[in-house]
């Protein structure tokens, strides 16, 4: 989630409130304050509120929330004489383009800082790292309308930002830092989107890089903004940026986008209308809120709201990208009303609790094991083939036995365990410096053939640890579990042959014995270890596992 740096002088001036009040109220609007400094605060806003990724947006919201300027703010768009013609060739590459012109704006450091911050944060969030949406900002005086938005081949060339000579598209993707950084978006394409002006000079190569010639400088007074992508996210981003410049006192002018089959005019900063049923507000919030109060709460959240007979008609500002459903509005009613003012009530829902069978079984064996003098341990279920099988002189098959991760992060964690015993040996290995004897156990989940099973394993280590001691443990355990069993000689090479056995209840449900010296060596263990593992899922009904 993006962390926005807000400078106090700017914020206090724009909100017209002091920092104490701002600090107190901001979290109740929905954010995490990460850092408070003398000069600025760093605030993490939620990904559903990209309109708050700039000081302008935060000030706008706070002025409503603090009752300084409740209700809808008016945004006007002057009809501009600007045109972008969309060529059919680009429709399969990056089909949507929107834009606007901003005039009469003083481009001071504050504005540029705010613009750069929101551009980056919108690229990350709405844009999904420029994949779904990318924003270009240009010095209007260098751009000659009408523009053409089309697709070109990789030998097409222009002078990209930060360079002083022409490069082809192929070269940019190969050498330009932005080309290298974002070429993954255009992988496997043979045509590339390009915005070209009426002099046939390139303005931008979205979503990679602008042309050098339209660079914004301190002399810039008017801006042309383009947003390219695939769907409504381009409109959302444009509306947020246009509203932000409008808040700064800029004049927003519209641009006609001429598609082969239609004409769109952007931006559209008119509010959307959504009606919310009063009953639905009551039901979702769980209490009756007076309609006037709901209206006031909405206005505090900068919506326009009209009380109708059974509904409230809500005017949603164009910069609010998150309102998909009436419930999104009802949440804002709750926030505007104040979470701290809601009277709490415990639900009267009457049900009877019950323990899952899985944990019933698990708790019983844990009790028995502690009674037998074992210390309980917990371990990761992620592990590796090496530890689970290679180290243990065992073998297993992917999928039939264990689940392999598709993109493991480390060599230690490549699969989900099918056995607990190796985890315990690993723990002994990590605890060699502690006093012997050590007796540890774990009862927990393993995943066999993509399904969870409940297993129990225990190990004993001291200078005389051996077969008869672990057999005593298994005998006592099985006796306590009330299960008749027989021991049969085991061929499992994790153990010493002739000193290990399968626990047979109709079929083998586990095994025990003296751990093979080869195995001990691999775990760097230098005292004998005796251990056992048993599959409880095959012995007990462990209940429904979803």
């Amino acid at each position: 989630m993006p962390v926005i740096t807000l400078y106090w002088d700017e914020l206090e001036r724009m909100v017209e409130a002091d920092r104490e009040e701002i600090l107190e109220k901001l979290p109740l609007l929905g954010c995490d304050i990460e850092r408070v400094e003398e000069e600025h605060i760093d605030v993490e806003f939620f990904p559903n509120r990209p309109d708050l990724y700039s000081v302008e947006g935060v000030a706008r919201a706070l002025r409503g929330f603090l009752d300084l300027e409740p209700g809808l703010r008016k945004y006007s768009v002057v009809k501009g004489d600007w045109k972008i013609v969309v060529d059919g060739s680009v429709l399969d590459v990056r089909p949507r383009i929107v834009g606007c012109v901003v005039r009469k704006l003083e481009m001071d450091d504050e504005v540029i800082r705010s613009l750069m911050q929101i551009q980056e944060d919108l690229h990350w969030t709405i844009g999904r790292n420029r994949r779904k949406m990318a924003i270009g900002v240009h010095d209007l005086s260098k751009v000659h309308f009408p523009l053409s938005y089309r697709a070109v081949k990789s030998d097409f060339s222009f002078v990209p930002l930060d360079f002083d000579e022409e490069m082809t598209v192929a070269e940019i993707l190969e050498k330009h830092p932005k080309g290298v950084g974002y070429r993954f978006i255009l992988e496997n394409k043979d045509l590339y989107p390009m915005i070209v002006d009426s002099k046939e000079e390139v303005i931008s190569f979205p979503p990679i890089i602008n042309a050098e010639k339209t660079r914004v400088t301190e002399k810039t007074t008017d801006l042309f903004i383009d947003v390219t992508g695939f769907d409504e996210n381009v409109d959302r981003a444009l509306n947020i940026i246009a509203s932000m410049f409008h808040d700064r006192g800029g004049e927003i002018q519209s641009i006609s986008i001429v598609y082969p089959d239609r004409v769109e005019v952007t931006p559209d900063l008119n509010p959307r209308i959504m009606e919310v049923k009063q009953d639905e507000i009551r039901e979702l919030l769980g209490f009756r809120i007076k309609v006037n109060e709901a209206v006031r709460a909405l206005e505090r959240m900068r919506f326009g709201a009209e009380k109708l007979e059974n509904t409230i008609r809500v005017h949603i500002p164009a910069y609010r990208a998150d309102i998909m459903h009436p419930w999104d509005i009802i949440e804002d009613i709750a926030i505007g009303y104040g979470y701290d003012k809601i009277e709490l009530e415990y639900p009267s829902t009457n049900t009877i609790g019950s323990v899952h069978r899985w944990n019933k079984v698990r708790d019983i064996v844990r009790e028995i094991m502690v009674g037998l003098g074992f210390l309980e341990v917990t371990s990761f279920t992620l592990t590796s083939e090496k530890l689970q099988y290679e180290y243990m002189n065992r073998s297993a098959m992917a999928w039939k036995d264990y689940v392999p991760l598709q993109h493991p992060l480390t060599e230690e964690h490549t699969i989900v365990r099918t056995h607990i015993l190796p985890s315990l040996l690993e723990i002994l290995s990590m605890n060699r410096h502690h006093t012997l004897p050590q007796k540890i156990f774990e009862a927990g989940d393993v995943v066999v053939n993509s399904k969870n099973r409940l297993k129990l394993a225990g190990v004993i280590t001291h200078s005389k640890a051996g077969f008869s001691e672990i057999r005593s443990i298994v005998q006592a355990l099985m006796m306590e579990l009330g299960i008749e069993w027989e021991a049969e000689e085991s061929q499992d090479r994790a153990y010493i042959t002739g000193r290990s056995a399968e626990i047979v209840v109709e079929e083998s449900v586990g095994n025990f014995g003296e751990i093979h010296p080869e195995v001990l060596e691999r775990f760097q263990l230098s005292t004998p270890v005796a251990g056992f593992e048993i599959d409880l899922s095959s012995l007990f009904d462990v209940g429904e596992v979803i």
């Binding site: 979290p27 999904r128 979702l284 769980g286 999104d328 049900t351 609790g353 210390l375 598709q406 723990i427």
Partner: protein, 474 residues
């Protein structure tokens, strides 16, 4: 008074007031020299004995003394000669040689002989105790009497030696009996223990350390949470770690291009599963256009192939939502405390797998206010008396809330998240009523409860830490 068996033996055999050398005491009591020494010191500490070290002369025979003892003393030889007859001086000189002068001098000095007319005559009978003394010294026996004469005659000499003496000063009034160290079956069966005292131990000395077998401290916290849920009437549910993307993401209205679904953050598996048809179509429609939920939906595209992909579940909500789909009729209260996976590098506060706690309430007449009431009650039961609520954001809840609890020394601490499941989540799955849901990371709770700074300890246990951590953590 605590007396060891060897002290008792010493008191028993030695007379009060008399001094014994250690050798003597050893001989009398049958104890070894070391034991006598140790017992003497112990008794001295109790004021019942006194140990003294004295200088002592140890006599031995000179070479002359030894030859006299072997061949007889000169005066003795002369005396024996005179017993038969008077002897002329000249003939006596011949018999005794150079010893004659010594022999005659001694005999005359003691008035045993007279000399007249060159004839030595015996005047009276005599005894020669010197021989007896030399014999005793040769045998290292104690000699009474004056030894100065023998010293002067250089028949004996001595070394100065130190000798340790022990003297019993007093004996305890009660009858001396051996105290009981180990209470043996024999003592019990014979009833002999009644006549004896028990050896008392020094209770301040720590014994050897042993370690309790016990539950893992983290499992205690899990148990506590489970108990709270059960007391509040919740049903425990359980699900597989491996889930379809459908239940992990799509059913929860997470758009298919959502960053949380990236390979970067989620462990995917290279297999796909068949999905329950009854849910898929409605979920797809909801994603695309909102279906009948009143939502706009996400638009764009929705691929069933993406939904079929297996993942290591990233949250327990994959299980709760599936359970609710299987049990869509209110009332339902369910909870789950179980493992989830995130594709994260391990450090002190991030693990690729950890446990999540989650609770859901499905009912007709419940809303956001009841969720807050539920949270307050739940945290209260966990011992957090002050709870407050801030707006939050989760993709599948609306409204959403971030509860904070007050922790002494830390201030307000965010603890989990909560919300009402979106209609886009519940309606396509046929769930009737509203679902209040909340969850939290168990690791966070463990850190607060156990004062842990490093989460790795939970899953890579240090046996020393487990042994040292009390079962009752205050």
């Amino acid at each position: 008074m605590i007396l060891s068996p060897m002290e008792i033996t010493l008191l028993k055999y030695l007379e009060t007031g008399r001094e014994y050398t250690i050798d003597e005491a050893s001989k009398i009591t049958g104890l070894k020299r070391d034991a006598v020494m140790k017992a003497s010191h112990l008794l001295q500490e109790k004021g019942m004995a006194e140990i003294r070290t004295k200088e002592r002369r140890k006599y031995f025979l000179t070479e002359e003394g030894k030859s006299y003892l072997r061949d007889g003393l000169p005066e003795e030889k002369l005396y024996n000669l005179l017993l038969k007859n008077d002897v002329e001086i000249e003939s006596a000189k011949k018999v005794l040689g150079k010893e004659f002068g010594i022999a005659l001098g001694w005999l005359r000095k003691r008035g045993i002989v007279d000399i007249s007319d060159n004839l030595i005559k015996l005047r009276k009978r005599a005894e020669f105790r010197e021989r007896e003394i030399l014999e005793k010294i040769e045998k290292e026996e104690v000699v009474a009497g004056d030894l100065n004469e023998l010293l002067r005659r250089k028949l004996i000499d001595f070394d100065e030696e130190k000798e340790i003496y022990v003297r019993i000063l007093k004996k305890p009034e009660a009858e001396l009996k051996e105290v009981i160290k180990d209470l043996t079956p024999d003592l019990l069966m014979t009833g002999e223990w009644r006549n004896r005292e028990f050896l008392k131990y020094d209770v301040k000395i720590p014994s050897k350390r042993i370690f309790a077998a016990k539950y893992h401290p983290y499992e205690r916290i899990v148990k506590e949470c489970r108990e709270i849920f059960l007391e509040m009437g919740f049903t425990e549910i359980k699900g597989n770690f491996v889930q379809s993307s459908f239940w992990n993401f799509d059913a929860l209205f997470q758009p298919q291009d959502h960053p949380a679904r990236d390979m970067q953050d989620t462990f995917y598996l290279e297999r796909k599963v068949e999905l329950e048809r009854e849910y898929v179509d409605k979920v797809r429609e909801t994603h695309l256009n909102g279906w009948k939920t009143g939502s706009t939906g996400w638009g764009g595209y929705w691929s069933i192939d993406t939904a079929r992909k297996l993942v290591m579940r990233t949250h327990t909500t994959a299980i709760t939502i599936h359970y609710l789909a299987m049990n869509p009729e209110p009332p339902v209260k369910a909870f789950c405390i179980d493992r989830v996976y995130r594709r994260e590098s391990i450090d002190a506060t991030h693990l690729p797998e950890f446990d999540q706690l989650e609770g859901v309430v499905l009912d007709r007449d419940v809303g956001f206010r009841h969720l807050l009431g539920l949270l307050r009650e739940f945290f209260l039961k966990m011992g957090f008396e002050d709870v407050r609520f801030r707006p939050g954001y989760f993709p599948y809840t609306e409204p959403s809330v971030e509860p904070e609890v007050y922790v002494e020394g830390l201030g307000w601490v965010e603890l989990g998240g909560a919300g009402v499941f979106r209609k886009e989540v519940t309606k396509p799955l046929g769930i009737k009523g509203r679902v209040l849901a909340w969850g939290l990371g168990m690791g966070r709770l463990a850190m607060l409860r156990l004062g842990m700074k490093d989460l790795r300890k939970l899953y890579q246990p240090d046996i020393g830490w487990l042994r040292d951590l009390p079962s009752v953590v205050r």
